[in-house]
């Protein structure tokens, strides 16, 4: 029986008169690779913000790695996010005045203790050991996203969350990043990715489609991956 790493029960999020998420029920097992797809305004980002402890639901519960995060204080959410979530952004969000290596070490610094050797290993895993001393401005978009992935993985999170991780990449770099996800999935890392790109969505083990804040489709794509 696979271990449940995330469980959303009757989760809704309401902003004034707008219901961004409506009665969402979702369960993710450890080691799963889930794509969240849907048109703009369907509630994808709201959902990933709630899973990523950057927002709380208006109603319902969210159990992350055994902890109910739906009613936690901002301080506790910060701590949980630091310990359990690895974030990947569409715009990479690297700190411009720090090198690739230092950008990875920043995540270690906020989590526990910086370790340069370990940060170098993380960069090596995404094929950027040679570029460790470069500033973000000296890296290509694909390289920046790989630094972002190394940073997200450095603290061994329970879940790797990506919000349009390939949205700013060309085809070649998209393929490199997807290959990294594929390898991470094979290593047992739980991955949840929001994407507009059907090609990226289709390589996940499982895909859900959101429309008007509701899950309209929940597709198991395991056979596709095998092929």
């Amino acid at each position: 029986m696979p271990q449940k790493i995330l469980e959303l029960s009757n989760v809704s999020k309401i902003y004034g008169n707008l219901k961004a998420l409506s009665d969402i029920n979702l369960s993710v097992n450890a080691g799963d690779w889930l794509s969240i797809m849907g048109p703009s305004g369907s509630g994808k980002t709201t959902m990933i913000n709630i899973i990523g402890c950057m927002d709380t639901p208006s109603t319902g519960s969210v159990i992350l790695d055994g902890t109910d995060i739906s009613r936690e204080t901002a301080g506790n959410l910060t701590r949980i996010r630091r310990d359990k979530i690895g974030l990947i952004f569409q715009q990479f969000h690297l700190i411009s005045y720090l090198t690739a290596l230092e950008n990875v070490m920043v995540a270690q610094y906020y989590h526990s203790m910086p370790d340069e050797e370990e940060a170098m290993e993380a960069l090596a895993k995404v094929g950027l050991a040679e570029r460790a001393g470069h500033l973000p401005a000296q890296l290509s978009g694909g390289e920046q996203q790989r630094v972002c992935i190394a940073r997200a993985l450095i603290n061994s999170p329970s879940i790797l969350l990506g919000d349009e991780p390939t949205g700013n990449l060309d085809e070649e770099n998209e393929r490199v990043v997807v290959d990294i996800f594929r390898r991470l999935h094979s290593e047992g890392v739980t991955i949840i990715i929001v994407t507009h790109d059907p090609e990226v969505g289709d390589v996940a083990q499982r895909k859900i489609i959101l429309e008007h804040g509701r899950i309209t489709q929940d597709i198991d794509q395991t056979p596709i991956i095998r092929t």
Partner: protein
């Protein structure tokens, strides 16, 4: 990932991030450093002037004559030993001039005049405002004297002229001219043992616009020899680098330690000096406070802009799990470094500023106050941190989910 070792320290990483931000974002921080450096320059410059003004102005005021008159108590006169004791008590460092005066009535062309015997060099130190036609006497040739402008006019004396003075020696009494003797015989009697006479040369003519124009100023030792007495001064005029309070304290000390003397401060000078000093120092203090406030506003504005500009970075750090206080400590750390750099730069520029002001206003150099280095740096670190607190607290209002999505 493998278990994390403690190879790197959090503190080292903190400074790595801090130095990265300061060095690699230097162009963006130049304005902030400049604002602090300008404030620190003006502050350290003004403080240097503030501490130097009493000395500088004190010296200026010393140009207006003695500020302490010391008289003998009772009928006794002031001996050389007492003069030496007074000099030691005041201290050489504070003495601008210390001139003993002995007044002696003499006759010139059978008319009475007063010779003031003094130490001409000390008198010159005391009264640099005297206008001297010719020059101050020559210590090698004590027969050369200064003649008051009034006397020179009355006797028709010019520079280089010689005139004869005569009188009764110390302790002797004058005898009236006898009716039964001729004028020549009476003159011979005047030149007898109990009288003195000598020829003096006009080396300079003194114009002060005051009582000094009615005196002849000669070397006090020459006068003592002439009248056949040892050193006995009627008064000592002192020009001392001190304010009214210090002078009053010194007077009390003189009275206590040398009871045969009674010192009197020249209130007109000492009070004027204190009033001018007080006003100038108040002005400097006011300007300093204004500069500090302006610097704080400038730093506040710069830090507000910096926090706004770095919202995404701050949001990212929070998204990575940084607590508000940790992010704020990083920004305040940058503030401390900015304050340090600007303060250090300002100390040296401030000295240059104070030096130029002093040279232009007082015509003198200025002493560098070493204590200003740590003091200015500390003040500007405190100012920068204080001015940064409100902008930096805005970190708490930054929500990573909103900012990182581009709002």
């Amino acid at each position: 990932m493998a278990s994390r070792t403690r190879k790197g320290s959090r503190l080292r990483m903190y400074f790595r991030m801090l130095s990265g931000s300061l060095i690699r974002r230097a162009s963006r921080l130049v304005i902030a450093v400049l604002a602090i450096a300008i404030g620190a320059t003006i502050l350290s410059g003004l403080v240097t002037i503030y501490y130097d003004i009493p000395e500088q102005l004190g010296r200026e005021f010393r140009s207006y004559g003695a500020n302490l008159i010391v008289l003998p108590r009772g009928e006794a006169k002031i001996t050389r030993e007492t003069l030496r004791a007074l000099r030691e008590l005041v201290g050489e460092g504070r003495i601008v001039g210390l001139a003993p005066y002995r007044y002696q009535t003499v006759k010139i062309n059978e008319q009475p005049y007063i010779i003031a015997g003094t130490d001409l060099e000390e008198a010159r130190n005391n009264s640099p405002f005297w206008y001297i036609e010719g020059s101050w006497g020559d210590s090698q040739d004590t027969s050369q004297v200064l003649v008051g402008h009034e006397i020179a006019g009355t006797l028709g004396l010019k520079l280089g002229d010689t005139f004869t003075v005569q009188g009764v020696k110390y302790g002797e009494s004058a005898e009236a001219s006898r009716q039964d003797l001729s004028a020549e015989e009476n003159q011979k009697r005047d030149l007898a043992r109990q009288n003195f006479h000598t020829k003096l040369t006009v080396r300079g003519i003194v114009s002060t616009g005051g009582a000094e124009e009615g005196f002849i100023f000669a070397d006090i030792d020459m006068l003592d020899d002439l009248i056949g007495d040892t050193f006995r001064a009627d008064v000592i005029e002192c020009s001392i680098a001190a304010n009214a309070a210090e002078l009053s304290e010194l007077s009390a000390e003189i009275e206590r330690i040398i009871p045969e003397l009674q010192p009197r401060a020249v209130r007109r000078l000492t009070q004027s000096q204190d009033i001018v000093l007080g006003k100038l120092q108040a002005l400097v203090l006011l300007v300093t406070v204004v500069v500090l406030i302006i610097t704080m506003i400038s730093v506040y504005t710069t830090m507000t802009a910096m926090v706004a500009e770095r919202r995404r970075e701050i949001a990212l750090k929070k998204a990575l799990g940084a607590e508000n206080k940790l992010v704020m400590s990083e920004l305040l750390g940058e503030g401390v470094m900015l304050g340090f750099t600007g303060g250090a730069l300002g100390v040296f520029l401030g000295f240059e500023f104070a030096l130029r002001v002093s040279l232009n206003v007082f015509g003198r150099g200025i002493n560098f106050q070493w204590a200003l280095i740590p003091a200015t740096i500390a003040v500007f670190i405190i100012i920068t941190v204080a001015a940064s607190i409100i902008p930096v607290r805005r970190v708490m209002d930054i929500h990573p989910a909103i900012v990182l999505k581009g709002e």
